[in-house]
Symmetry: C2
């Protein structure tokens, strides 16, 4: 896939991980406007604190993104902070820009200081390999336990011109409730100011990445960065709605790929909670059901065990009347007004063995709605996570 | 094991489960004072609502307990309620007592109405088999996915007399965060009034069953019942402290057995959170760490992956200063004041491969402390739960 105009990328091997590419570089030779959302975790990795401050100080401008896999450089104190700064300075030096024009991101094991010499020694190679088709190499270089790369694109019309958005991401972890680092980099050729980008990104993230992580369930390094090179040369902003639509699509596609590629995932539950009194009630309910290991294992087994879903709802803290709760698997009613519905077990089982399992939980008490995606919990998740790091 | 004076028990097969005993009966021929704690789940099973009301109406008196496995009779509406009442009435009829003297409890699949005819048809057999040694048969008849029965005892001195407490329980599920039904029945020969029993039980449960389930993480049927036959004939209550100690021991023993027997569990983490600003902060922190699938899988793998613990702490909502957080595995420091400690990996790994893994998380900001027990997350959990019900 080709990047939008104004961006180059590459992916190389710095030797942080064994035998796999682990260093990605994105460069906007003429600069880009940018906006980002970061993890809300109290433990924020060195690259997160540094990049957050840099983006603020530069007023939402950047020239390059350096991202490594294999080491999160989180909970590493001053040593980690210094290592991240050395990577940033060396990149700025090589690209002849200021330190604050360089955005850095890391993913991998927590508690290990970034081996910055491996990174700085490899940077010249990464720069040499920069190309407008380099997104594919980069998409591989940022992976950790992901099964495969995640890249998507969309087009939009802005000020009468046809523009492009390309996004790349890495997951994964079980996402819910304790996701491994999620990184997303989204590039567009649109000419939009940083404040507009921030508004658009916040809207898109809320219905994509946040719908898989749910407020507050974040790792130490989660970052989604949106960059706009302005090469499209649009001036009018009358049809920003179409750009927003395209951005939403790209973010949702990436979120879906992340959940579908959840560690060992075989299927994804798309849980819609509706009829909640407030947004908070909807989210509490969705979170409890989507994170329940008993629900996730039933999903893995293709078992429409709705009792586990209601038990999770019952302890969620959401306000609702138990006699007004209904539950559906696709269009098969499982529970109606708090009592078991009459349905054929095989109809429900058929829905639960799909790759995408649509579940609707109606609390029957209001108008608030939320949607979350959750992967199932299977043997591969255990194998991946009991052995990871060692 | 023999029951305390004043109690008889039996365990038989009613045919609710395939090929396994599934009906337990406890009788206090001369009656008993009683107190109970119930699930806080919004969906409360029919036996829970019925028994809660009965105990209240009788002023804390009962004569019998009927408990079945294989069917939780939860989320079953009026049909479930009526089925539970029929079991209760028939028991009362056979034992010549009032309906409200009969306490009922159920565990098993949610959403299926109790097959009450199977129960009532088997009650005469259960009555015939009642004996003071019947606790062992009962301990088997109340199990669901538990590997084995859970029975323990302790002695105490009250009013100068030596009394006994015998407790029996069933788990299990992963307990955290979405426990399968937990039932506990504790019997003593002490002569204590219902209000005293309630106070003592609340104290004991808080540091045992609640330390494994954490507030609010409850199934539809959880129940712990304490019964006192009064056969010890004690009058003075000056040394209630010794009774409390014995009761705490019995409840803690049962809680440990439940966690150790968590579905597929191979080891148990005993997590102490200390230095928290408030009790709530301590519990939020403990809950997030103890329920994290990433922490649980690392525990399964014997991997001292403390980064996952801090990431869970960071999203827990507990208030703390990241620079004052310390973490220990037994006496091995893993993190000191928010930075990686210097330790030998093999020393940490040795702690993580014990059957009981003591972890201390010091938030360095106050005096509140809490302790939770959490089982690991392994392949057997997946096998048990992906296939359960089918």
């Amino acid at each position: 896939m080709r990047l939008p105009k104004g961006f180059l990328a590459s992916g190389v091997r710095a030797g942080i991980r064994k035998k796999r590419p682990d260093l990605g570089l994105i460069v906007a030779p003429d600069g880009a406007n940018a906006a980002a959302v970061f993890t809300k975790n109290r433990f924020q990795a060195a690259p997160v604190t540094l990049s957050k401050a840099a983006l603020k100080n530069s007023g939402g401008k950047l020239k390059a993104v350096v991202v490594n896999a294999g080491c999160a450089n989180a909970v590493t104190g001053k040593a980690g902070h210094d290592a991240a700064k050395r990577v940033r300075s060396r990149t700025a030096e090589l690209l002849a820009c200021s330190d604050e024009d360089v955005f850095i991101a890391s993913t991998g094991v927590i508690g290990v200081v970034l081996p910055d010499k491996k990174v700085t020694a490899t940077l010249p190679d990464a720069i040499t390999r920069l190309s407008s088709g380099g997104i594919d190499a980069l998409s591989h270089a940022i992976l950790t336990t992901d099964v495969g790369p995640k890249v998507t694109q969309a087009t939009f019309t802005l000020g009468g011109k046809r523009g492009r958005i390309v996004g790349v991401a890495k997951g994964a972890g079980m996402i819910h409730p304790n996701m491994a680092t999620m990184l997303g980099f989204v590039m567009t050729d649109a000419a939009l100011d940083p404040a507009t980008l921030k508004r658009a990104l916040t809207i898109a993230v809320d219905q994509s990445f946040n719908a898989i992580s749910v407020d507050g369930d974040t790792s130490t390094n989660d970052t989604v960065l949106l960059m706009a090179s302005g090469k499209l040369g649009n001036t009018a902003r009358a049809d920003i709605a179409d750009f927003q639509r395209a951005l939403n699509t790209v973010c949702r596609d990436l979120a879906w790929m992340i959940v579908r590629d959840g560690e060992g995932a075989t299927r994804v539950m798309e849980l819609t909670v509706r009829g909640a009194k407030t947004d908070r009630d909807a989210k509490l309910a969705a979170h409890a059901v989507a994170t329940s290991p008993l629900v996730k294992t039933a999903l893995h087994g293709g078992d429409p065990n709705w009792g586990r879903m209601l038990a999770a709802l019952g302890r969620s803290g959401a306000r609702f009347n138990v006699k007004r709760v209904s539950l559906f698997a696709a269009n098969v009613p499982l529970v109606t007004n708090g009592e078991p519905a009459i349905y054929k077990e095989k109809d429900a089982a058929k829905v639960f063995t799909r790759e995408r399992v649509p579940i609707t939980l109606d609390l029957g008490g209001g108008n608030a709605t939320t949607v979350v995606l959750a992967s199932d919990l299977g043997h591969d998740y255990i194998s991946i996570n009991a052995d990871y790091r060692s």
